[in-house]
Amino acid sequence: MQEKTPPAWNTPLGATPEEPVAAPADGAYTQWYEVKKGDTLWKIAKEVYGDGSLYPEICKANQDTLSDPDKIQVGQQLRIP
Protein backbone atom coordinates (compact mmCIF):
# COMPACT_ATOMS: atom_id res chain seq x y z
CA MET A 1 0.00 0.00 0.00
CA GLN A 2 1.33 3.36 -0.99
CA GLU A 3 2.01 5.70 1.88
CA LYS A 4 0.07 8.93 1.98
CA THR A 5 1.99 12.09 1.35
CA PRO A 6 2.01 14.64 4.11
CA PRO A 7 -0.58 17.38 3.83
CA ALA A 8 0.50 20.91 3.20
CA TRP A 9 1.85 22.49 6.35
CA ASN A 10 -0.04 25.68 5.79
CA THR A 11 -3.27 23.85 6.46
CA PRO A 12 -4.72 25.21 9.68
CA LEU A 13 -3.89 22.77 12.42
CA GLY A 14 -5.25 22.11 15.83
CA ALA A 15 -7.60 24.50 17.48
CA THR A 16 -9.12 27.35 15.57
CA PRO A 17 -8.44 30.90 16.78
CA GLU A 18 -12.01 31.02 18.05
CA GLU A 19 -11.40 27.97 20.21
CA PRO A 20 -8.00 28.38 21.77
CA VAL A 21 -6.71 25.34 23.55
CA ALA A 22 -4.10 25.91 26.20
CA ALA A 23 -1.00 23.80 25.93
CA PRO A 24 -0.88 21.24 28.73
CA ALA A 25 1.30 22.10 31.69
CA ASP A 26 4.64 20.37 31.47
CA GLY A 27 5.46 17.90 34.19
CA ALA A 28 7.26 14.71 34.95
CA TYR A 29 5.12 12.79 32.49
CA THR A 30 5.38 15.15 29.55
CA GLN A 31 6.95 13.20 26.72
CA TRP A 32 9.52 15.09 24.73
CA TYR A 33 11.07 14.61 21.32
CA GLU A 34 14.17 16.42 20.15
CA VAL A 35 13.96 17.36 16.50
CA LYS A 36 16.68 15.79 14.37
CA LYS A 37 17.97 16.81 10.97
CA GLY A 38 15.48 15.88 8.26
CA ASP A 39 12.54 15.57 10.66
CA THR A 40 9.08 16.78 9.79
CA LEU A 41 6.06 16.60 12.03
CA TRP A 42 4.72 13.89 9.75
CA LYS A 43 7.89 11.84 10.19
CA ILE A 44 7.84 12.36 13.92
CA ALA A 45 4.19 11.33 14.15
CA LYS A 46 4.96 8.28 12.07
CA GLU A 47 7.82 7.38 14.37
CA VAL A 48 6.02 7.86 17.68
CA TYR A 49 2.45 6.95 16.69
CA GLY A 50 3.08 4.72 13.69
CA ASP A 51 0.89 7.01 11.63
CA GLY A 52 2.11 10.28 10.10
CA SER A 53 -1.40 11.57 9.65
CA LEU A 54 -1.62 12.04 13.41
CA TYR A 55 0.86 14.94 13.28
CA PRO A 56 -1.88 17.46 14.27
CA GLU A 57 -1.77 15.94 17.75
CA ILE A 58 1.82 17.12 18.01
CA CYS A 59 0.90 20.52 16.65
CA LYS A 60 -1.85 20.93 19.23
CA ALA A 61 0.46 20.01 22.05
CA ASN A 62 3.07 22.53 20.95
CA GLN A 63 0.94 25.52 20.03
CA ASP A 64 2.89 27.75 22.36
CA THR A 65 6.20 27.20 20.59
CA LEU A 66 5.16 25.98 17.16
CA SER A 67 3.93 29.09 15.39
CA ASP A 68 4.64 27.57 12.00
CA PRO A 69 4.51 23.78 11.88
CA ASP A 70 6.51 23.92 8.69
CA LYS A 71 9.44 25.37 10.53
CA ILE A 72 10.70 23.01 13.13
CA GLN A 73 14.34 23.28 13.96
CA VAL A 74 17.00 20.77 14.77
CA GLY A 75 17.34 20.52 18.52
CA GLN A 76 13.87 21.87 19.17
CA GLN A 77 12.00 20.06 21.93
CA LEU A 78 8.49 18.99 21.04
CA ARG A 79 5.88 17.63 23.38
CA ILE A 80 4.54 14.28 22.27
CA PRO A 81 1.09 13.77 23.79
Binding site: A28, Y29, Q31, E47, G50, L54, P81
Partner: protein, 203 residues
Protein backbone atom coordinates in the same frame (compact mmCIF):
# COMPACT_ATOMS: atom_id res chain seq x y z
CA UNK B 1 6.86 -30.89 137.01
CA UNK B 2 6.32 -33.89 134.81
CA UNK B 3 3.63 -32.17 132.78
CA UNK B 4 6.07 -29.62 131.41
CA UNK B 5 7.25 -31.57 128.35
CA UNK B 6 3.68 -32.61 127.65
CA UNK B 7 2.58 -28.99 127.81
CA UNK B 8 5.42 -27.91 125.57
CA UNK B 9 4.45 -30.55 123.02
CA UNK B 10 0.85 -29.49 123.18
CA UNK B 11 1.82 -25.89 122.72
CA UNK B 12 3.91 -26.76 119.67
CA UNK B 13 1.01 -28.65 118.21
CA UNK B 14 -1.36 -25.74 118.80
CA UNK B 15 1.09 -23.32 117.22
CA UNK B 16 1.59 -25.54 114.21
CA UNK B 17 -2.15 -25.91 113.81
CA UNK B 18 -2.60 -22.18 114.10
CA UNK B 19 0.08 -21.62 111.50
CA UNK B 20 -1.53 -24.15 109.20
CA UNK B 21 -4.92 -22.60 109.71
CA UNK B 22 -3.45 -19.19 108.99
CA UNK B 23 -1.96 -20.44 105.75
CA UNK B 24 -5.20 -22.09 104.75
CA UNK B 25 -7.01 -18.86 105.43
CA UNK B 26 -4.65 -17.02 103.06
CA UNK B 27 -4.83 -19.54 100.25
CA UNK B 28 -8.23 -18.50 98.93
CA UNK B 29 -7.50 -14.75 98.98
CA UNK B 30 -4.18 -15.44 97.23
CA UNK B 31 -5.94 -17.53 94.62
CA UNK B 32 -8.51 -14.81 94.08
CA UNK B 33 -5.81 -12.14 93.84
CA UNK B 34 -4.10 -14.06 91.05
CA UNK B 35 -7.41 -14.62 89.27
CA UNK B 36 -8.19 -10.90 89.48
CA UNK B 37 -4.82 -10.05 87.98
CA UNK B 38 -5.25 -12.55 85.17
CA UNK B 39 -8.70 -11.17 84.44
CA UNK B 40 -7.27 -7.66 84.22
CA UNK B 41 -4.55 -8.87 81.81
CA UNK B 42 -7.16 -10.65 79.69
CA UNK B 43 -9.32 -7.52 79.63
CA UNK B 44 -6.50 -5.63 77.94
CA UNK B 45 -7.11 -7.97 75.01
CA UNK B 46 -5.14 -8.34 71.81
CA UNK B 47 -4.56 -4.58 71.64
CA UNK B 48 -2.09 -4.93 74.52
CA UNK B 49 -0.17 -7.62 72.66
CA UNK B 50 -0.12 -5.49 69.52
CA UNK B 51 0.55 -2.04 70.87
CA UNK B 52 2.31 -2.48 74.24
CA UNK B 53 3.97 -5.91 74.00
CA UNK B 54 6.84 -5.04 76.36
CA UNK B 55 4.53 -3.73 79.05
CA UNK B 56 2.30 -6.80 78.70
CA UNK B 57 5.31 -9.11 78.87
CA UNK B 58 6.52 -7.43 82.07
CA UNK B 59 3.15 -7.99 83.75
CA UNK B 60 2.73 -11.59 82.58
CA UNK B 61 6.24 -12.41 83.81
CA UNK B 62 5.28 -11.13 87.24
CA UNK B 63 2.08 -13.20 87.12
CA UNK B 64 4.21 -16.28 86.52
CA UNK B 65 6.33 -15.40 89.55
CA UNK B 66 3.21 -14.92 91.61
CA UNK B 67 1.88 -18.33 90.59
CA UNK B 68 5.17 -19.91 91.56
CA UNK B 69 4.84 -18.34 94.98
CA UNK B 70 1.33 -19.73 95.19
CA UNK B 71 2.50 -23.21 94.23
CA UNK B 72 5.13 -22.95 96.96
CA UNK B 73 2.30 -22.06 99.34
CA UNK B 74 3.76 -18.64 99.92
CA UNK B 75 0.30 -17.13 100.11
CA UNK B 76 1.52 -14.28 102.23
CA UNK B 77 4.04 -13.37 99.53
CA UNK B 78 1.33 -13.58 96.90
CA UNK B 79 -0.95 -11.30 98.85
CA UNK B 80 1.87 -8.85 99.49
CA UNK B 81 2.80 -8.54 95.81
CA UNK B 82 -0.70 -8.78 94.36
CA UNK B 83 -2.03 -5.21 94.83
CA UNK B 84 0.82 -3.57 92.92
CA UNK B 85 0.65 -6.13 90.15
CA UNK B 86 -3.14 -5.79 89.93
CA UNK B 87 -2.71 -2.04 89.48
CA UNK B 88 -0.21 -2.66 86.68
CA UNK B 89 -2.53 -5.20 85.04
CA UNK B 90 -5.48 -2.86 85.27
CA UNK B 91 -3.38 -0.15 83.64
CA UNK B 92 -2.76 -2.29 80.57
CA UNK B 93 -6.14 -1.58 78.97
CA UNK B 94 -5.73 2.18 79.15
CA UNK B 95 -2.11 2.00 78.02
CA UNK B 96 -3.05 -0.23 75.07
CA UNK B 97 -5.90 2.08 74.08
CA UNK B 98 -3.61 5.09 74.24
CA UNK B 99 -0.88 3.36 72.22
CA UNK B 100 -3.45 2.20 69.68
CA UNK B 101 -4.79 5.72 69.31
CA UNK B 102 -1.28 7.07 68.80
CA UNK B 103 -0.48 4.36 66.23
CA UNK B 104 -3.69 5.06 64.34
CA UNK B 105 -3.00 8.79 64.34
CA UNK B 106 0.50 8.15 63.00
CA UNK B 107 -0.89 5.83 60.32
CA UNK B 108 -3.46 8.41 59.30
CA UNK B 109 -0.78 11.06 59.07
CA UNK B 110 1.32 8.75 56.89
CA UNK B 111 -1.67 8.00 54.65
CA UNK B 112 -2.47 11.69 54.37
CA UNK B 113 1.11 12.43 53.42
CA UNK B 114 1.24 9.63 50.85
CA UNK B 115 -2.10 10.70 49.45
CA UNK B 116 -0.76 14.22 49.01
CA UNK B 117 2.12 12.87 46.95
CA UNK B 118 -0.08 10.55 44.90
CA UNK B 119 -2.77 13.17 44.31
CA UNK B 120 -0.15 15.56 42.98
CA UNK B 121 1.34 12.91 40.71
CA UNK B 122 -1.26 10.46 39.47
CA UNK B 123 -3.60 12.79 37.53
CA UNK B 124 -0.76 13.99 35.29
CA UNK B 125 0.45 10.45 34.70
CA UNK B 126 -3.09 9.25 34.02
CA UNK B 127 -3.61 12.11 31.58
CA UNK B 128 -0.34 11.34 29.78
CA UNK B 129 -1.13 7.65 29.42
CA UNK B 130 -4.76 8.25 28.47
CA UNK B 131 -3.71 10.80 25.87
CA UNK B 132 -1.17 8.46 24.32
CA UNK B 133 -3.58 5.52 24.30
CA UNK B 134 -6.23 7.72 22.71
CA UNK B 135 -3.93 8.88 19.94
CA UNK B 136 -2.55 5.41 19.30
CA UNK B 137 -6.11 4.11 19.10
CA UNK B 138 -6.58 6.36 16.08
CA UNK B 139 -3.36 5.20 14.45
CA UNK B 140 -3.64 3.06 11.36
CA UNK B 141 -0.48 1.23 12.34
CA UNK B 142 1.27 0.93 15.66
CA UNK B 143 4.76 2.39 15.95
CA UNK B 144 7.82 0.19 15.73
CA UNK B 145 8.47 -1.61 19.00
CA UNK B 146 4.82 -1.70 20.06
CA UNK B 147 2.83 -4.78 19.16
CA UNK B 148 -0.93 -5.12 19.33
CA UNK B 149 -0.88 -7.24 22.49
CA UNK B 150 1.28 -4.74 24.36
CA UNK B 151 -0.94 -1.91 23.23
CA UNK B 152 -4.09 -3.71 24.32
CA UNK B 153 -2.51 -4.44 27.69
CA UNK B 154 -1.60 -0.77 28.09
CA UNK B 155 -5.07 0.33 27.02
CA UNK B 156 -6.85 -1.96 29.47
CA UNK B 157 -4.33 -0.99 32.16
CA UNK B 158 -5.14 2.67 31.57
CA UNK B 159 -8.88 1.95 31.75
CA UNK B 160 -8.44 0.04 35.01
CA UNK B 161 -6.25 2.81 36.37
CA UNK B 162 -8.91 5.39 35.56
CA UNK B 163 -11.61 3.35 37.33
CA UNK B 164 -9.35 2.75 40.32
CA UNK B 165 -8.45 6.41 40.54
CA UNK B 166 -12.15 7.27 40.67
CA UNK B 167 -12.48 4.81 43.55
CA UNK B 168 -9.44 6.29 45.26
CA UNK B 169 -10.72 9.86 45.06
CA UNK B 170 -14.17 8.75 46.25
CA UNK B 171 -12.60 7.00 49.23
CA UNK B 172 -10.51 10.07 49.99
CA UNK B 173 -13.59 12.28 49.82
CA UNK B 174 -15.33 9.91 52.23
CA UNK B 175 -12.39 10.19 54.63
CA UNK B 176 -11.19 6.62 54.15
CA UNK B 177 -7.54 7.46 53.64
CA UNK B 178 -6.25 3.91 53.91
CA UNK B 179 -8.57 2.69 51.15
CA UNK B 180 -7.77 5.78 49.08
CA UNK B 181 -4.04 5.23 49.32
CA UNK B 182 -4.29 1.49 48.65
CA UNK B 183 -6.29 2.15 45.49
CA UNK B 184 -3.97 4.96 44.42
CA UNK B 185 -0.95 2.69 44.81
CA UNK B 186 -2.59 0.22 42.45
CA UNK B 187 -3.26 3.06 40.02
CA UNK B 188 0.44 3.95 40.08
CA UNK B 189 1.44 0.36 39.40
CA UNK B 190 -0.95 0.09 36.48
CA UNK B 191 0.13 3.42 35.02
CA UNK B 192 3.81 2.61 35.38
CA UNK B 193 3.22 -0.70 33.59
CA UNK B 194 1.19 1.02 30.86
CA UNK B 195 3.88 3.65 30.35
CA UNK B 196 6.57 1.01 30.13
CA UNK B 197 4.47 -0.96 27.64
CA UNK B 198 3.92 2.11 25.50
CA UNK B 199 7.59 3.04 25.61
CA UNK B 200 6.93 6.27 27.47
CA UNK B 201 9.50 7.70 29.83
CA UNK B 202 8.65 8.82 33.36
CA UNK B 203 10.33 11.92 34.64
Amino acid sequence: MKFKPVFAGFLSLVMAAALLAGCANQMEPAKKAIADIEAAVAAAGPDAAQYIPDQLQAVTAQVVDLKMKFDQKDYKGVLAAAPALLAQAQGLSAAAASAKQAAEAAALEAFNSEWGTLAADVPAQLAAVTSRVGILSKSKKLPAGLDAASFEAARSGADEAKALWDQATAAQAAGNMEQAVMAARQVKEKLNAAMAGLGMSAG
